[in-house]
Amino acid sequence: MAELTYREAVARGIAQEMARDENVVFLGEDIAKAGGVFKATVGLLEQFGPKRVVDTAISEQAILGAAMGAAMTGLKPIAEIMFADFIAVCYDYIANEFPKTRYMTNGQVSIPLVVRCGNGGGARFGAQHSQSVENWCMQFPGLKVVAPSSPVDVVGLLAAAVRDPDPVIFLEHKSLYATKGEVPDGEIVDRLGVAKILRPGKDATILALGMMVPRALQAAATLQSEHGIDCEVIDVRSLVPLDTQCILGSVARTGRVFTVEENPRQLGWGAELVSIIADESFYDLDGPPIRITTPNIPLPAADALEDLAIPSVSRVVETIRRSLSA
């Protein structure tokens, strides 16, 4: 057992899989010699050499396209798209190629690859370097979307993603890179599609992802201590596959549900979850399902503004307190 940062967990997860399977290769911008712009891939070049850890040009379409071609023919590439926002310059692979090829070829083609990105806000990077792109990736049957919130989940889910025979978008949260957590020694392999109840509770269910997970936990603590409201906090972890059973089971127990989403309001992942709940758990609900999101704005750069935009612990507390006492 060792305490690792989230960024160290990334390198550990990749190293675990590269050491296990020589078909795992890794490519991206500044990932090799420089160890990544988020320093999340330090040491991999030294350990696995330049044939397996490949610095590329600034050519995101080449990165994802090459990863796909390699995956189709036997490798298991991990591709880094540095800031998740850059998914937009290679979106054809996300939307049209990765998810549809197995289906269109009637199962002839497998695309076992992982696209890792630095996702999310909080670092004052402004509107084009701070987005939460899970929603850009969640619309495509055939693609899987995962977003860990702790070092141990980073290692385990990354391993699961690499071993998964389907293409997986793996979203690391930039503002979590410096956070720490205990990670057991030895091989760690988690499962995609399993949510985690991080805090059991009986009054309301809070669904969160990525950086919103620690905030949801903190909010739950405050709601308990200051308002006597006992919230169950679920780290969704994997949007596709989705652990609907865990989520609906919790709602059946609590009767109320809140999503905490970093994305702007329109068509965030919470909309899908709420819609499923509203359909399938309609008679379990004691009140409206509420989405706590960034408002309908691009993220501003200035710290004071960004802090106001992204759901804060106090906003979560206030929203839940007000809703439950309404």
């Binding site: 396209g65 071609g69 995956a71 023919t73 009637n106 002839q108 055939g142 989705l242």
Partner: protein, 346 residues
């Protein structure tokens, strides 16, 4: 703006094609391929007129020498990456006609049982790694396959076919740069048929040759060949393969050719200047090859016999397709994920 490329036999960089030495058995194999491609595409067109092919389709009538010459130069294990205009390249690698026509007709005997359609023909067992319908997407993908070969020390080459219009999309540039500095065993084959969908390529580029005039930007040789001369294509491709297998990196080959039909089934191709089609038909790749084979001593009736044999094969395939049931609907929900299904939640 008028086409800057005259419809006269283009120059080749490889000397006179009549001087190319190719064994007669290889030449006969190529004639057979030409005949197969020509007659299969013609059949696809006829079936479309009979409303037995739904959706879109993009024929290679007139362009067969590129597919035939390239396929004849490939070895088993080499990988083809095609576009929506991929029937010919798919058939040339040995995929049965019945499978291709069945797919176009949406029958259960189709190559992908109707799930992909005309634009996505794929047959991994024949090295046909897919037909790609979003312009440019498959150039980086072909690089990836070549990267795997390089990494694993495999000797196969990836071949990526695309049109003149594809040279102006971003993915072209990214792929060429990536392949070139990585020295990947990939051969990029631009079929310059003078048109994108309906707009002449010459209207939208500031150079004469959409592919070849960009080669130097990636440190590659400038290669323009007569894409209607199957021997020239065969020889040029063979050289590119040798280069790729020797670890010397990619090639970019521009083949000048012409499509006889419209861009897709919806297109009567009225935008072509009067006479252009006729001039190109005089340069027909099959007519020309019959002539060359004749001058090499092959009798016409031997070639006619090949044509007849192919026709029979296509007739049989057509009948099989017409007899085949429409795609079974139980495959609607299969193969979205590797577990065989489409469930994304529990």
């Amino acid at each position: 703006m008028a086409n800057k490329l005259a419809p006269s036999p283009p120059t080749t960089i490889h000397g006179q094609s009549d001087a190319i030495e190719i064994p007669l058995t290889k030449r006969m194999e190529m004639y057979r391929l030409l005949s197969l491609l020509r007659q299969s595409e013609q059949r696809a067109y006829d079936l479309f007129l009979q409303n037995l092919i739904k959706g879109t389709s993009h024929l290679s009538l007139g362009q067969e020498a590129v597919a035939a010459g390239a396929a004849a130069a490939m070895q088993p294990g080499d990988l083809s990456f095609c576009t929506y205009r991929g029937h010919a390249h798919t058939l040339a690698r040995g995929v049965p006609v019945e499978k291709v026509l069945g797919e176009l007709m949406g029958r259960d005997n189709g190559l992908m049982r109707g799930k992909g359609g005309s634009m996505h023909l794929t047959s991994i067992e024949h090295g046909v790694m897919g037909s790609y319908a979003i312009i440019g997407a498959h150039l980086p993908i072909a690089c990836g396959a070549a990267w795997r070969a390089q990494y694993k020390g495999h000797k196969d080459v990836s071949v990526c076919f695309f049109g003149d219009g594809t040279t102006n999309i971003g993915a072209f540039h990214e792929a060429l740069n990536f392949a070139a500095y990585m020295k990947l065993p990939v051969v990029f084959v631009c079929e310059n048929n003078l048109y994108m969908e309906y707009t002449p390529i010459a209207d939208v580029i500031p150079v004469k040759h959409p592919a070849a005039d960009r080669a130097a930007a990636y440190g590659l040789d400038r290669i323009v060949v007569d894409g209607n001369d199957v021997d020239v294509v065969y020889q040029t491709m063979s050289q590119a393969f040798a280069r790729a297998r020797a670890g010397k990196g990619p090639s970019l080959i521009e083949c000048l050719t012409y499509r006889y039909s419209g861009h897709s089934r919806a297109d009567p191709a009225k935008y072509r200047p009067a006479g252009e089609l006729d001039k190109w038909k005089e340069l027909d790749p099959i007519k020309a090859y019959r002539k060359r084979l004749g001058s090499l001593g092959v009798q016409n009736d031997k070639l006619d016999a090949i044509d007849a044999e192919i026709l029979k094969l296509i007739d049989d395939a057509t009948k099989a397709c017409q007899a085949a049931p429409p795609t079974s609907t139980d495959i609607l929900f299969t193969d979205v994920y590797a577990d065989g299904g489409c469930a994304w939640r529990n």
